[in-house]
Amino acid sequence: MKEFDFGTNLGGAWFPAPIFTASGCASSGKELAQFFALKDIGAVVTKSVMTKPRYGRPTPRMAETPSGMLNSIGLQGPGIDSFLANDVPWLLEQKARVIVSIAGETVEEYSTLARKVRGISGISALEVNISCPNVENRGLVFACDPEASRRVIDGVRKTIGGEIPIIAKLTPDVTNLPSIASGVVDAGADGLALINTVLGMVINLETLRPHLGGKTGGLSGPAIRPVAVRAIYQVHEALPNTPILGMGGVSSGRDALELILAGASGVSVGTASFGSPTAIPTIQNELRDLLIAKGFNSLKQAVGYAHREVS
């Protein structure tokens, strides 16, 4: 019997397994290393980093909701220089595959960040989180604006050249996701990350005001899984040749399989790690067993399988 092939490919980068951390849900990896070896999972996607150090948003920064949670962290972080000098070398020492996520407030900031990332070797891919407010356009989120999305990716593409794959991370909070997706692919994205959190709010019934310091927050967790599956399915249908890194509410192997069948070549696990620090290796093992039980010889065979006609 041929051995089961669990490896996956995202725009040229190869990973031995398809389950990754989700940006912002694993910090820079150190904290999870106590619970499992980072090299055993597909890759560590690091928290979106900006040019300068950032304090983020005021607390409270989270609210639990039915089968989900809201967060409004506001991209607190050390800034790209400290991140590249300290966090990336540590991750590479652990033999983890590293996907660096960057976030900016202007088209220019993304290019600057990409240039700095390009200078470091050993990074597997660049995730470009464009679900951030564009300060040059009334704070409108880049990924909500087809033109701004394209410009960000175009700038990053020109900076990065062909060195590492560029994965554009999109928000589901748009009227026409496939059109935003094809815009960024035209601009040079090698892959897409779907989905970022869904915009939500909780009112605190003690204060009678929005609970989060940032008022609105991003909804994640199992509650949004059907939205993630739909988004991945729609985009895979429109762009069958563009690899997708799927995410949104995955907390078991069967959840991950849903996203893969819909069209994801890899799956990031975010909120589930908050509920269980060992969620990622557990999900990865469950997925492998499930794929084998369903008769697949490789992960690749299962990617987008839900689109095929029933024979």
Binding site: G24, C25, A26, S27, K30, E31, L32, A33, Q34, F35, K47, K52, P53, R54, Y55, G56, R57, P58, T59, P60, R61, M62, E64, P66, S67, G68, M69, N71, I73, Q76, P78, G213, G221, P222, S251, T271, A272, S273, F274, G275, S276, P277, T278
Partner: protein
Amino acid sequence: MSAINKSAQQFLATIVSNKRVGQYHQIILQVGEIVAACKPGNFIAIAVGGDNSRMILRRAFAISRTSHTASFGGTLELIVAPHGSGSKWLCQQQEGVELDVVTPLGTAFGIPTEPVNALLVGGGYGSAPLFGLAEVLKSRGCRVDMLLGASTGQKIYAPMEGKRAVNSLRIYTEDGSVGERGRVTDPMWAMIEDGSVDVIYSCGPMAMLRAISDLVNDSDVVHQCAVEEAMACGIGICMTCVLPVKNENGSTSMLRSCIDGPVMDGSTVQWDLVGQIPEASQ
């Protein structure tokens, strides 16, 4: 491997007993050998609601006391207030139920190397970790005084055995139903002024911790406080639990109270900035 939470593990712990004590539940968990790594100040994060739960996040509880018994091996004691749906669920779980836990998490109270005069101040269930701490301090030759406060007597947690570990215990309730009417901070200024306190260990509502910090501000008294911020992950990966803390160079960092706390140096926490964002960058 990294140095963060280096003794922490995720495992199933069996409930050995669950008793109502006033408005709280005293829950004893069988945890095995890991008990040796659990220090006063550390906490435990527990999954709540069972397999089909709509509650996806763990709940954090201070480890009240640890022990080693012949029948159950290592055990942890928790004091749980039935507050919202997760803690209420926990309080309803019976002996024999297995809980999915992660522990020991976070920083511990610093134990002085020389005998000192220690004042332990607890608000509500905040007294829980102080009794375990008192035992450790006593064994190091410290004098241990304790002040406990709550809105009402039913919310004072002060077990018999615990009382034996301290040199003095004074209780304050806002409604005067138990002990003296008033707040734990009422007698503190006098105690600090007459030099009978070297270190304060505190645990309780943030307003109480802040009031104590303000009181000791101009004194030489060291103040170690166990803070309580809403935590999504409890292990340092989500950045929801941050507090503004002053660095040596005068700048402010937003530190995670789950891994850089819960025990923090009260004099470095910028209480007036809690819930806000420092203006300058780090």
